[in-house]
């Protein structure tokens, strides 16, 4: 039963990846970090203010945020997971992380594989890690909190699951705002 629930989540996520959404702009490149003015070691007199960035739609799917190499690994991992080969699916996703260590979608996929392997604790840790590298992306966060809710439910933590579900739905409304 537990397995089935986990697999449902997994497949749902895998489905997201194969949904091509080409109407959105490509993912942002590495945002330029705020670099304090060069020169003196003591406090700078002036620090250039951060330019106000235009509102950019955050990536909704792995397609929009990943290189072809990572996408091909995600595809391979999906196939492995669908065939029940979770160990190899995880290994393949780790290989993707070597290429893009801060790709929130890869961590999310790892979380769902861990869930399918019955490792709720690791699933939650991976989903939260995904959140921590997702920046301000309500799409990713909504799915991550759903995964966390599922991990907690399976682990018998009802109230924790409810709380996670609430966070998932608040991020879902945030993402619907963005869609308008």
């Amino acid at each position: 039963m537990q397995r089935i629930a986990a697999l449902v989540v997994l497949v749902a996520l895998a489905g997201c990846a194969t949904n091509q959404r080409t109407s959105f702009p490509p993912p942002q490149g590495p945002a330029s970090p705020t670099i304090p003015s060069p020169g003196r070691t003591p406090e700078p007199e002036r620090v250039p203010e951060r330019p106000s960035e235009p509102e950019v739609m955050p990536p909704r799917s792995a397609q929009e945020a990943s290189s072809p190499a990572v996408l091909s690994l995600l595809g391979r991992a999906d196939t492995l997971a669908r065939n029940g080969n979770m160990d190899m699916a995880a290994a393949t996703l780790e290989r993707a992380l070597d290429l893009e260590p801060r790709n929130a979608f890869v961590y999310q996929r790892l979380a769902s594989v861990k869930l399918a392997q019955g490792q709720g604790g690791q699933a939650e840790a991976m989903a939260r890690k995904s959140n921590s590298v997702a920046g301000d992306n309500p799409f990713v966060r909504a799915d991550n909190w759903r995964l966390i809710a599922e991990a907690r439910r399976v682990g018998g933590d009802r109230s924790g699951a409810d709380e996670a579900m609430q966070r998932a739905s608040s991020y879902r409304s945030a993402s619907q705002q963005l869609m308008r």
Partner: protein, 766 residues
């Protein structure tokens, strides 16, 4: 009677010969592989960087690209015929691929063969060593059918022309040897056949006595009677001794091919095969690395023999004789190329595998070592120490150092340097030299405080006045700042860490409680049990660089702990998976206080004790880090990280006398060099969910704030706060001096007037 004894002896020998030949003939040390290079569109390596890696792995430039292990390079592209390799996750076939390049690296990857598109491909990994007993044989088994035909043909030609026809011994050659020995009045020459040589290696010690000779001959005849010529030849290919690498004996052509040419036997060229065949006669006497001229002469002699025997065509023969020896560079080293790293691998395997499993079963161990990062770290450590000694008038070669480099995310150990001479397998300082960590401890104190956002934020004023603490044992602890001065009672929290103040940090630690600091330290991944004493706040705890790396890796990964690993996978000799080391993460510390702590550590790098790093490092790269210096300048530390790389460096002396270096003058210099060479990506500073930023003017200066505070809103820096805990009344454009902000709030009108008056006066007199 004598005949019966001889017959009985023959039966005994026969049993021995067969048991040895058919039993487990060889123990196979585990083979250790580096992390493979992934090739894909978007990879930020230039063509020449990839070519140098191919060269290191024995790939050969070839315009035809007809065999695996070759490449073809032109101005903006690179074609590679990759080698097939059995990875931990399955077989990867040999492919012919094309890489195109632009200014940033690989711009596209495509297939030249008809085996379908590909988005990425791994090069076969570099073999970095074996796990063998202290004194032992190492080999890679080959099958007769897989080796280039020129090798067995050449061996027979040079070593034993009569091999296919004799019965294990060759009366002709014995006669010839006997004559030579008689003339010399002793045993100077062996008329040994290949079979006899095999017997000698297999069963007998190295004494050259007549009795032994006779025994050898008898056994050779028995061996020849029981086994086919191809079986004997294959055993010979795998058994023959071909060189020495410290305590490791290089046996068989399979390993020799890697040892001398860094590539598989199948890819050897005629002159390379000839060199190996030439060396059979005396691997040490004809060592191509130590005696290149002698080796070259004998190789060419062997090439002539190949040619006159008829299996080396005229053109190839001339070509081959012109070629140089082609052995890969390798300094004379006691064991493997990466003793410190292999040591770590071995320790991580211990407990899971018995020693015998590792030294006998031929396991394949896939590690996280990145050969490029390792090479950079080794070079920067050894060059850096030379420079530091020269610049500071320190006795030459008196300093030691060690370094750990990790991938941050995933916790992979990319490089490990155990000492100044990285090839020397001695004391592994990166794992075993535990020294006080000094100020490297401070971020742990600040993190503990910042985890209580209701009490501490980045601009909380800290007291940096003199301090004395009565200890449980009756002593009094009186810490001092490095400068021996104090900095008043209102140092903003961020400033105290940026400039590594001891007094304010000690007071802060006593405020939050040493036991809480210890809890944080353990959450971050420290596995020891430090004494709960006030001086812990300033680093009174001994750690090895690897332990420091574990703690800082958790900070670098945003509060997520991942055990540092050197191994990804272990498979059997045949490639069956044995153990995986999957990525495991634990949310160790709340992200928000980690973000705040790392924000300060970036200021350490920009403006604080670490700022000289930017003499070496590109200014546009945001990194975070901390210096560490211990009493009497004994230990010099630096721990720091970019988004994708973390490095910890220790510099000091083995005898623990003062090294006369601070963290900044010693370890930091090595660290910056390493970092500059390993493609660091700048930290991005995306605040986590529960962090907000307030633009503030950071104007605290312990020598009195710089000039009058004219207010305004220029020159602000976004300062992060935990959501919901921005201090009451703090508003945009305030400063980091809380007293000043309060003052401005209380008298907004007056301040405005003063400011205008100031400006007016300035205009008048300016």
């Amino acid at each position: 009677m004598a005949a019966a004894v001889l017959a009985g002896y023959m039966v005994y020998l026969d049993g021995a010969v067969r048991a040895q030949f058919e039993g487990t003939r060889w123990t196979l040390p585990a083979k250790v592989y580096a992390s493979p290079l992934e090739l894909y569109s978007g990879l930020d390596l230039s063509r020449s960087e990839i070519v140098s890696r191919l060269d290191r792995q024995g790939y050969r430039a070839s315009s035809s690209l007809s065999r695996s292990g070759t490449y073809r390079s032109s101005v903006s592209r690179l074609d590679i015929h990759t080698r097939a390799f059995h990875f931990w996750d399955g077989q990867q076939a040999s492919r012919e691929i094309r890489l195109n390049f632009d200014s940033t690296g690989v711009s596209s990857l495509s297939a030249l063969d008809k085996q379908g598109d590909l988005a990425l491909i791994r090069l076969d990994p570099l073999m970095i060593g074996s796990i063998y007993p202290k004194q032992g044989e190492d080999r890679i088994l080959v099958k007769l059918g897989d080796v280039p035909p020129m090798l067995p043909a050449g061996l027979i030609t040079v070593e034993d022309r009569d091999f296919m026809n004799h019965w294990g011994v060759s009366p002709k050659s014995i006669l010839r040897a006997a004559v030579a020995n008689l003339r010399a009045g002793g045993v100077v020459q062996g008329g040994s056949t290949i079979t006899q040589q095999l017997v000698k290696n297999f069963y007998l010690n190295n004494q050259q006595t007549l009795v032994r000779k006779a025994k050898e001959a008898l056994m050779a005849i028995l061996l020849d009677a029981h086994y086919s010529k191809p079986e004997i030849l294959e055993a010979y290919l795998n058994e023959v001794y071909l060189g020495q690498d410290g305590g490791r004996a290089i046996h068989g052509f399979g390993l020799a091919s890697y040892f001398y040419f860094q590539k598989p036997l199948e890819e050897l060229q005629p002159q390379e095969i000839a060199l190996l065949v030439a060396m059979v006669k005396g691997p040490s006497y004809y060592d191509p690395r130590r005696n290149p001229e002698r080796a070259l002469r004998r190789r060419n002699l062997v090439l002539d023999m190949f040619h006159s025997a008829g299996f080396l065509e005229e053109d190839s023969w001339r070509e081959a004789k012109k070629a140089d020896l082609g052995v890969t560079a390798r300094t004379v080293r006691s064991t493997s190329q990466y003793p410190a790293f292999i040591d770590l691998v071995r320790r991580q395997l211990l407990g899971q595998y018995k020693d015998a499993d590792l030294t006998e079963e031929g396991l394949r161990i896939f590690t996280t070592l990145d050969p490029e990062v390792q090479a950079a770290a080794e070079k920067r450590v050894s060059d850096g120490l030379d420079k530091v000694e020269a610049a500071r008038g320190i006795e030459r070669d008196s300093l030691q150092a060690s370094a750990v480099v990790t991938s941050v995310e995933g916790g992979r150990v990319l490089a490990l340097v155990g000492g100044r001479d990285a090839g020397f397998a001695g004391f592994n300082r990166a794992l075993d030299a535990r020294r006080p960590i000094g100020s490297l401890m401070k971020p742990v104190v600040y993190l503990t405080a910042l985890a209580e956002p209701s009490k501490y934020n980045l601009i909380t004023p800290l007291d940096d006045s003199a301090l004395s603490v009565k200890l449980a044992n009756g002593d009094t602890w009186r810490p001092q700042n490095y400068s021996k001065s104090t900095h008043g009672s209102e140092v903003p929290l961020h400033y105290a860490l940026t400039h590594s103040y001891n007094l304010s940090t000690a007071r802060l630690a006593l405020d939050v409680g040493i036991p809480d600091v210890i809890d944080t330290l353990k959450e971050l991944g420290y596995n020891g049990d430090p004494l709960s004493v006030p001086s812990l706040a300033l680093g009174a705890v001994d750690m090895a660089p690897m332990q420091v790396a574990q703690i800082y890796n958790t900070l670098a990964a945003g509060g997520y702990y991942t055990p540092l690993l050197a191994i990804r996978d272990v498979t059997t000799r045949e490639g069956e998976p044995l153990s995986r080391y999957p990525l495991k993460i634990r949310r160790a510390v709340d992200e928000s206080p980690v973000y705040l702590t790392n924000w300060i550590l970036q200021r350490v790098a920009r403006y604080g004790t670490g700022s000289t790093m930017y003499r070496t490092l590109d200014r546009s790269i945001n990194v975070a880090g901390k210096t560490g210096t211990t009493d009497d300048l004994r230990d010099s530390w630096f721990a720091g990280f970019a988004a994708n790389r973390l490095a910890v460096v220790w510099v000091g002396r083995d005898d623990n006398k003062p090294a006369q270096l601070t963290g900044a003058t010693g370890a930091l210099q090595l660290w910056a060099g390493i970092m500059a060479d390993i493609d660091p990506r700048g930290l991005m500073n995306v605040p986590p969910e529960d962090v907000v930023e307030v633009p503030l003017r950071l104007r605290f200066d312990p020598n009195g704030a710089s000039g009058n505070d004219y207010g305004g809103c220029s020159g602000t820096t976004p300062v992060p706060f935990v959501r919901g805990y921005v201090p009451d009344g703090l508003s945009d454009c305030d400063s980091d001096i809380m007293r000043e902000n309060r003052y401005r709030r209380e008298q907004p009108q007056q301040r405005q007037e003063e400011q205008e008056e100031g400006n007016w006066l300035q205009r008048l007199f300016g």
